[in-house]
């Protein structure tokens, strides 16, 4: 079942409201935190999938995944 448009609109309105309650600087600092958290979770996923991997190998796999994500985002 496709997501309900009213629900999606309500979520988006909420995001806008939250963003407007922050300064630009606060939003950028939150972006840094969000990115760090995303990287930590990604690394945890890699460790779970490859329990024998060293920290360096985990970092390498995370970097590869980000590069793949970046290539996908480069598409129109």
């Amino acid at each position: 079942m496709p997501p309900d448009k009213d629900l999606l609109d309500a979520i988006y309105r909420d995001k806008i409201r939250q963003a407007r309650q922050m300064t630009g600087e606060e939003r950028v600092l939150a972006m840094f935190e969000l990115t760090s958290a995303a990287l930590r979770i990604n690394a945890d996923g890699v460790r779970n999938q490859f329990p024998q991997a060293s920290n360096e190998e985990v970092r390498g796999i995370v970097c590869e995944r980000i590069a793949r994500l970046r290539r996908m985002h480069e598409r129109r």
Binding site: I16, A19, E25, T35, C63, R76
Partner: protein
């Protein structure tokens, strides 16, 4: 080092070399729009007097300058990339084209972590994102339009969108923003 620390180090290097630059890309989109994660840092830099090598040298051994220029297919722009593991800092030389010159002239001095840094304006961010029009660009543009709303200089945006042939896309994004 995390994204916060490497970004601040990058900005401090640009400022200490008295580089003329503007932050664009994900950081600017978040500054004016909705918080999202980003994995790279984009800046337009006027490379007169300072070279990319000087910027890389100022950053220290943790940062590595790609030996050759890179080319972004969709934006048709050449760039130099300085990397720390996982994070490319993409340096786009300031182009001679009128829009690049104007967005550089209109840049804003903003506060970030107890320092002042140069950032593109929200209007110029929207105009550029509409021009590139990848999925992520359109999301960023719409977020900025939604968050900034009436605070934007609309005649300015219209002028450049008309110039770039992106007015219809602008109107489509605006119409898709749910009413408050």
């Amino acid at each position: 080092m995390n994204l916060h620390d490497v970004t601040i180090a990058f900005l401090d290097a640009l400022e200490s070399l008295s580089c003329e630059y503007i932050l664009v890309g994900g950081i600017a989109a978040t500054h004016y729009g909705i918080v999202r994660s980003t994995y790279d840092v984009d800046a337009v830099v006027e490379l007169e007097g300072q070279s990319v090598q000087q910027i890389a040298a100022r950053l220290g051994a943790a940062f590595e300058l790609d030996p050759q220029q890179s080319f972004e297919v969709f934006t048709s722009k050449t760039m130099r990339v300085i990397r720390v593991p996982g994070t490319p800092f993409k340096i786009f030389p300031l182009a001679k084209e009128p829009f690049d010159q104007e967005r550089f002239r209109r840049r804003a001095r903003i506060q970030l972590e107890h320092r002042q840094v140069w950032m593109t304006t929200p209007e110029d961010l929207v105009v550029q994102k509409l021009r590139w029009a990848r999925r992520k660009d359109l999301t960023d543009a719409q977020d900025v339009l939604a968050v900034q709303g009436d605070a934007l200089d609309w005649p300015y945006i219209y002028r450049w969108c008309d110039e770039h042939g992106t007015r219809q896309l602008l109107e489509k994004l605006r119409s898709e923003i749910p009413p408050e």
